[in-house]
């Protein structure tokens, strides 16, 4: 049934990466991105590739899950590859009519495509190894550390969204069936009639969402909610030796990439 679908694609596990503090993982992803963008030649890419592959191995997340995350991007990947391949000026290695491939183009194309693939791999690894709740907590605390003023509100919104998505999916299914029982047809006709046929679904869904929001707001107030001030959290995020080790590893990666880029 629809409600069984889990949000975020968290894959439970106890690997090194699973056990890291969410804040560590979020910051590490940014450091990794910096390293990725710093790399510009084959040595740099070799280092990043080895690192990325080892991370996926360490996380014990099935490769299939990673590939699933990359698959929807194939058009963008093909475009990136194609544009660089055919439009970069340089030493021609292959030509047919006005279509030509240059050595520089090939290089750029491969690098850019790899950059995208690695970017998606590492961010999926973050969501695949972190529960949505831990991720929310992590984002809240990272935003707070950056003095973003609405950090608490953003995190609360994410928490409530996580809580209500399954409920709303269930409700959508129910309203749809109720209207079908009255002869509604959601999947035939042209675009206009299909869009129109959604009104009997969307109106009740919006109304009930507003009602829910209203009741939830009242229930929260009744439980003394008054925004982020003076609020404590039961779960305190805790950095362990593991986290420091992870920081060191990612820092080393970044420095290596920078050295390769600028001094070698």
């Amino acid at each position: 049934m629809l409600k069984d679908i889990t949000i975020g694609q968290y894959v439970p596990g106890i690997s090194f990466i699973h056990r890291l503090d969410p804040r560590t993982k979020i910051v590490a992803v940014f450091l990794y991105m910096a390293a990725l963008f710093a790399s510009g030649d084959s040595t740099g890419y070799l280092v990043v590739t080895v690192f990325t592959i080892s991370m996926v191995f360490l996380s014990k997340v099935p490769w299939l899950m990673i590939i699933k995350g990359i698959r929807p991007l194939w058009i963008i990947l093909v475009l990136t590859m194609g544009l660089h391949l055919f439009l970069t000026q340089g030493d021609i290695i292959w030509q047919m009519g006005f279509v030509k491939i240059t050595q520089q183009g090939l290089r750029q194309g491969v690098f850019m495509t790899l950059r995208l693939v690695y970017l998606v791999t590492i961010t999926s690894l973050l969501t695949l190894t972190t529960t949505p709740i831990a991720l929310t907590d992590g984002i809240e605390s990272v935003l707070k550390a950056l003095f973003v003023p609405v950090a608490h509100e953003l995190a609360m919104m994410m928490t409530i969204a996580l809580r209500f998505i399954p409920t709303l999916i269930e409700e959508t299914e129910k309203i749809m069936k109720a209207q079908m029982a009255r002869g509604a047809d959601f999947d035939s006709g042209g675009i206009v009639s299909r869009a129109k046929s959604l009104i009997p679904l969307l109106v009740p869904l919006f109304l009930s969402s507003f009602r829910r929001a209203d009741e939830l707001a009242m229930a929260m107030e009744a439980r003394c909610y008054r925004g982020g001030e003076n609020r404590t959290r039961m779960k305190q995020l805790q950095m362990t030796g593991l986290d420091y080790m992870a920081f060191i590893i990612v820092f080393v990666l970044l420095i290596v990439c920078i050295i390769i880029r600028f001094w070698m």
């Binding site: 409700e171 129910k174 069936k177 029982a181 009930s208």
Partner: protein, 288 residues
């Protein structure tokens, strides 16, 4: 004419980690003119079962025939099935969406392609069946109505399809005593006056006891009983085992019988209980 289920099973998300067999090998016949109760605790498969009656769900095994027509046969229009079998979901007022009561009730008739005249007469008739004054309610927004009124509008929305069979999933849930009585009175009248075939899902054994002729009991997706109401409630021990109650009056008679009173235990309603107690008390007095 009838709805006939033969060997119906339904499995959700087959061949996935979430696979769940909600109903198993159900054989059932609902004959025209009956009023039937369907009981079973939450998660027993009641909702899954009733959605087979009008083809909202298709059996993963077995067959469903509505007036002799197999609902999954090629060329069968599900709209035609849904015209015949009206289904009122739990909290049906949550499906209201139009600006006026009239428009909302007219949604069903319009979907089945009726012209304005016919639609109008259907809306009128449906509103009358649930005691909503046509002139008074026609043009007002359903969202300004009270809970009980909203529910009657939603019920009228299904009645406007003029179904032969009407299936109601807990029609009284969340209403106050007056609202409950009103809805149940309408249901009884639909059966008596309009000669509609009724299947009513309820958690209230007391309501079931005074309303229905026949009772279907399901547990963990399986049909446990399918018999006259009195006979079903006579199986109180088995019902208790699967977590279902018997009507209060039946329970009272059972306790009295346990205490050695010579009472009949197949009592369902307050009226029957009163007569039975008086019979025993007065009979006892006559003996003494």
């Amino acid at each position: 004419m009838s709805i006939v289920l033969t060997g119906v099973s339904h499995t959700y998300s087959p061949n996935s980690p979430y696979e769940m067999k909600a109903i198993k090998n159900i054989d059932l016949e609902i004959t025209e003119g009956e009023i039937i109760g369907l009981i079973g605790h939450t998660g027993s498969g009641k909702s899954t079962l009733i959605q087979h009656f009008n083809g909202l769900l298709k059996p993963t095994e077995g067959r469903v025939l509505v007036d002799g027509v197999d609902i999954v046969k090629k060329g069968v229009k599900l709209k035609d099935i849904r015209k015949k079998v009206g289904l009122v979901f739990q909290y049906p007022e949550h499906q209201l969406f139009e600006e006026t009561v009239y428009k909302d009730i007219a949604f069903g008739p319009k979907n089945i392609g009726l012209d304005q005249e016919k639609t109008k007469s259907r809306v009128r008739k449906a509103m009358k069946m649930v005691d909503l004054d046509y002139a008074k309610y026609r043009d007002i927004s359903p969202f300004t109505l009270s809970g009980g009124e909203k529910r009657r509008v939603a019920l009228a929305g299904v009645l406007a399809m003029q179904p032969k069979y009407l299936v109601l999933d807990e029609p009284t849930a969340g209403l106050d005593p007056r609202g409950r009585d009103e809805i149940l009175r309408h249901v009884t009248e639909l059966h008596r006056r309009e000669n509609m075939t009724i299947v009513i899902v309820s958690h209230s054994m007391d309501d079931i006891a005074r309303l229905v002729d026949r009772l279907i009991v399901i547990n963990q997706g399986e049909l446990v009983y399918n018999d006259r109401t009195r006979e079903c409630f006579a199986q109180y021990e088995e019902l208790k085992r699967i977590g279902l109650d018997v009507p209060t009056m039946t329970a009272l008679m059972l306790r009295l019988a346990e205490k050695g009173w010579p009472v009949r235990t197949d009592i369902l309603t307050i009226k029957e209980a009163k007569e039975e107690i008086l019979r025993v008390v007065r009979g006892g007095a006559a003996d003494a």
